[in-house]
């Protein structure tokens, strides 16, 4: 059966994920060392150790994401996070920064290393470079690849692959995006946040809901309608007319959709993918339980060669619309 890797932003969500049938849960420490450094989220050292115990007692595993890029002059904070994850009994750590991976491989030779999607290893050369240099055991593939490309990658590498199947969708190559710091000064790579809540303002003006990020208007929707979170790349913008092209207004980068690749699970299995990842450490324990239960049923069905259930999770997706994203070539 394909391994189901599920998000947990809180100890309650971790327990919910394990109880709902997650094979593996990933989470992070409550600081800038992980890419979901959101208010009220994540684990203290004690909570992490207790979370690992809870999971292991029920046959599940915990991965600790330490996937931001250590700040120059303050690398010790990230080094300590790796040591503490190891001590807590994490099955593996998920890392992105080559310097940090080199440190982990040297200092904790028995610790299993996964390459975070934030490392943006999008081709076999990059993946093999990490595998050969540091003994990386699994790579989380960027959400810019088609199923055909994933198949081709798996033919050329010897380590496991993990791909996203549900949740928020980065349209840019992850770990290589400074859109958030352009508008707010805070970025996924440096601070573990994208379009951070502290810079978000919702307001009602002239019968419309407006969402701003760092003071910049990202969404304007009719009053009472859905109010998407103002993630920069899913905002509504306009491109003024040029000499050769008319003006355009709309979701220039991506519509406010989220990823649902349930229907692709059998093809991803055939492509040699080891694990399916669900995004959403910032979502509630209710969300985690529902999504995990549904995907556990889907991977079990795939294992029996049965068709995939469809449309079970529509209500939980942002803006109520779903896409299979880059996995289909037409998305590009």
């Amino acid at each position: 059966m394909m391994e189901l890797v599920c998000p947990a932003g809180t100890p309650a969500a971790l327990r919910a994920a394990v109880d709902a049938g997650a094979h593996t849960v990933y989470c992070g420490f409550a600081d800038e060392t992980n890419a979901r450094n959101f208010p009220g989220l994540n684990f203290s050292r004690e909570e992490m150790a207790a979370g690992v115990d809870y999971a292991v007692a029920r046959g599940a595993r915990v991965l600790v994401a330490i996937n931001t890029y250590p700040r120059a002059g303050a690398q010790v904070v990230w080094h300590r996070a790796v040591a503490d994850a190891h001590a807590a009994g994490a099955h593996a750590v998920i890392l992105a920064d080559p310097g940090l991976i080199a440190h982990a491989a040297e200092t904790h030779p028995d610790l299993r290393l996964h390459l975070s999607v934030q490392a943006a290893a999008a081709n076999p050369d990059a993946i093999n470079l990490y595998a050969d240099s540091f003994g990386i055991r699994r790579v989380v593939l960027p959400r810019v690849l088609t199923v055909e490309e994933i198949t081709a990658i798996n033919r050329e590498i010897d380590i496991e692959t993990e791909v996203f199947v549900f949740g928020g969708l980065c349209v840019m190559a992850e770990g290589r995006c400074s859109l958030s710091s352009w508008a707010t000064g805070l970025s996924p790579n440096m601070n573990g946040v994208c379009s951070p809540a502290g810079h978000v303002a919702y307001a009602e003006t002239e019968g419309a809901n407006e969402a701003r990020l760092g003071g910049w208007l990202i969404h304007r929707t009719p009053k009472g309608g859905p109010a998407p979170y103002p993630t920069l790349c899913k905002g509504c913008f306009s491109a003024p007319a040029t000499d050769t092209a008319p003006a355009q207004t709309g979701h220039i980068f991506e519509d406010p959709v989220s990823l649902d690749a349930t229907e692709l699970i059998p093809r991803l299995h055939k492509a040699g993918v080891t694990a399916l990842k669900i995004e959403g450490r910032q979502r509630s324990r209710a969300y985690v339980a529902q999504v995990v239960r549904s995907f556990r049923a889907a991977v079990e069905a795939a294992d029996r060669g049965e068709p995939m259930p469809a449309g079970l999770l529509a209500k939980l997706t942002e803006g109520q619309a779903a896409t299979t994203g880059a996995y289909a070539k037409t998305w590009r």
Partner: protein
């Protein structure tokens, strides 16, 4: 989501009594202090948002609530009075609040669909939502814990009855196996 007005109608007359609003605030403050004692992780999770003032506007409820985590105080005020000063506000129907609090619905899904609307300090609202989600609160049990037997038993019965009649989520959702 079902939008049945049974609970607001039940609570409606309360707001008309001149002394009811302060009394409600006192009762809720007592509840908040108990929760803060039992689950100190909530305040730890809130971080900087501990000092924020949250306005909870249950639009089909009789009163507006101001929650101040640091002094552990909840103040109720009448809807026809000016809104108290606050840093962040969450507005929506009772059913949406209760569903989020008890883990029936995901906060993000309620925000994205417009069932709950946020203004002010979005970061503080996120911290509050995440802290409450982790706390796995059960309002019925918390209220029952504040009552002496046999009142607590009656309260649980009444809560279950109201929940069935109104469709409101009045207890913590346990994940179905």
């Amino acid at each position: 989501m079902t939008q049945t007005p049974a609970l607001p109608r039940l609570l409606g007359p309360l707001a008309l009594l001149p002394l009811a609003t302060p009394a409600l605030g006192l009762a809720l403050t007592r509840l908040l202090r108990r929760i803060a004692r039992q689950k100190p992780a909530i305040l730890a999770r809130l971080g900087d948002a501990r000092s924020a003032r949250f306005l909870i506007d249950v639009t089909d409820g009789p009163v507006i609530l101001l929650i101040e985590p640091e002094p552990r105080r909840i103040t109720a005020s009448r809807r026809d009075r000016p809104e108290p000063v606050h840093d962040a506000a969450i507005r929506g129907r009772m059913a949406a609040f209760l569903a989020m609090l008890h883990g029936r619905e995901d906060g993000d899904a309620l925000f994205f669909s417009g069932e709950l609307a946020i203004t002010g300090d979005t970061g503080a609202v996120l911290a509050l939502r995440n802290a409450l989600d982790d706390a796995e609160l059960d309002l019925t049990e918390e209220l029952a814990a504040l009552s002496r037997p046999p009142l607590d038993r009656w309260l649980r019965h009444a809560s279950a009855l109201v929940a069935r009649r109104s469709g409101f989520v009045l207890s913590r959702e346990e994940p179905q196996p």
